[in-house]
């Protein structure tokens, strides 16, 4: 992706890499949440998906 050159008279827009970074942050947040939930399930119930 090539950042767009600033132009006079045009609306300032964020580069596309920012949105990619946002997606990466969202993915990381979801992944971290999933790992945390899995960790909690394992530590509390000694299993992840089903309770014996």
């Amino acid at each position: 992706m090539i950042p767009a050159a600033p132009s006079h008279g045009k609306k300032i827009t964020a580069p596309d890499n920012i949105y990619t970074a946002l997606l990466a942050v969202a993915f990381c947040a979801v992944l971290a949440t999933a790992v945390f939930v899995a960790y909690q399930c394992y530590t509390q119930y000694e299993t992840i998906f089903s309770i014996q």
Binding site: L22, V37, Q44
Partner: protein, 293 residues
């Protein structure tokens, strides 16, 4: 990249971050139900074991309690019997006590009466001793008089002995004279009367009657005019003797005399004398006979 895509990316990022925050908050604050379950299960098992132990101890205690209860019931029954026996003994003892009190009262009254009686007896004894002294003095005097009287009595007894000898001789003479007089008077229906006592105080001496009526009465039971014999209804049991003379009568009329010849216990036979003239005055059965008219 279109604007819509960009907006969606931003919204997706925000939503993901917020949802993750919510999930993380929820999961971190969620209660550990397994641990809670395990702890509750452990507590339940411990409680159940405690219950079993408690039940066992309860049963043991119940058995011991039942045994002790039986033993105590036996002891209670024995004690009740003892109590009943003791109550009966108590009643008997109370009755005996009441009797003893009554006896005590009666004995006290008797003792009081006895004390009074003793006092009276002492007084009487004192009086009696005084009287005895007087009597002894009188006895000594009367003894002297008695000796004098005994001497006079002996003299009079000698006189009485002499008089008895004379009286016996007179009695023998009287008996002989009585026999002679009875023989003479019995032919005429008379009997010598017993002599009447002659008063010795103030009346003058008088002669007693020499004879009295025999007064025997009967009837003629059979007549034999050919042999001049008749049978009468009285005999020796009534006092009839040989030689007695009976007068036979019929109403106011004299019939004849019957002189007794033979005697039987219930009847007698006699000789007819002084028979009257006339058929109507002849002796017959049922004529009355008597020794005195």
């Amino acid at each position: 990249m279109s604007t819509l895509t960009k907006v969606l990316i931003v919204l997706l990022t925000l939503a993901s971050i917020s949802l993750c925050a919510i999930v993380v908050t929820y999961v971190s604050s969620e209660v550990n139900y397994k641990e809670k379950h395990d702890s509750l299960l452990t507590r339940f098992q411990a409680a159940k074991q405690s219950e079993d132990n408690a039940n066992k101890q309860f049963n043991d205690l119940k058995g011991q309690t039942d045994q002790e209860k039986l033993a105590l019931n036996e002891k209670i029954a024995a004690l009740q019997q003892n109590v009943s026996a003791l109550e009966a003994k108590l009643k008997e003892t109370e009755i005996a006590r009441d009797d003893a009190r009554r006896k005590e009262d009666s004995w006290e009254a008797a003792a009081k009466d006895f004390a009074k009686t003793v006092e009276v007896n002492n007084q009487l004894r004192t009086n009696a001793e005084d009287q005895l002294k007087n009597v002894n003095a009188e006895f000594i005097k009367e003894r002297a008089q008695h000796e004098q009287t005994s001497t006079a009595l002996r003299e009079k007894m000698a006189i009485i002995t002499q008089l008895e000898d004379k009286w016996k001789g007179l009695l023998e003479e009287k008996t002989e004279l009585q026999k002679k007089l009875d023989g003479m008077l019995s032919q005429y229906g008379k009997l010598v009367a017993e002599p009447v006592a002659v008063t010795t105080v103030s009346e003058e001496a008088r002669v007693a009657a020499l004879a009295k009526d025999i007064d025997l009465k009967g009837s003629v039971t059979s007549v034999d005019l050919k042999n001049l014999l008749a049978e009468i209804s009285i005999g020796e049991a009534d006092g009839v003797k040989k030689g007695m003379r009976f007068h036979a009568t019929r109403g106011d009329k004299f019939i004849c005399d019957v002189v007794i010849l033979d005697i039987e216990p219930e009847k007698a036979v006699g000789w007819l004398e002084m028979i009257q003239d006339g058929v109507e005055l002849q002796p017959k059965v049922d004529d009355k006979v008597s020794t005195n008219l």
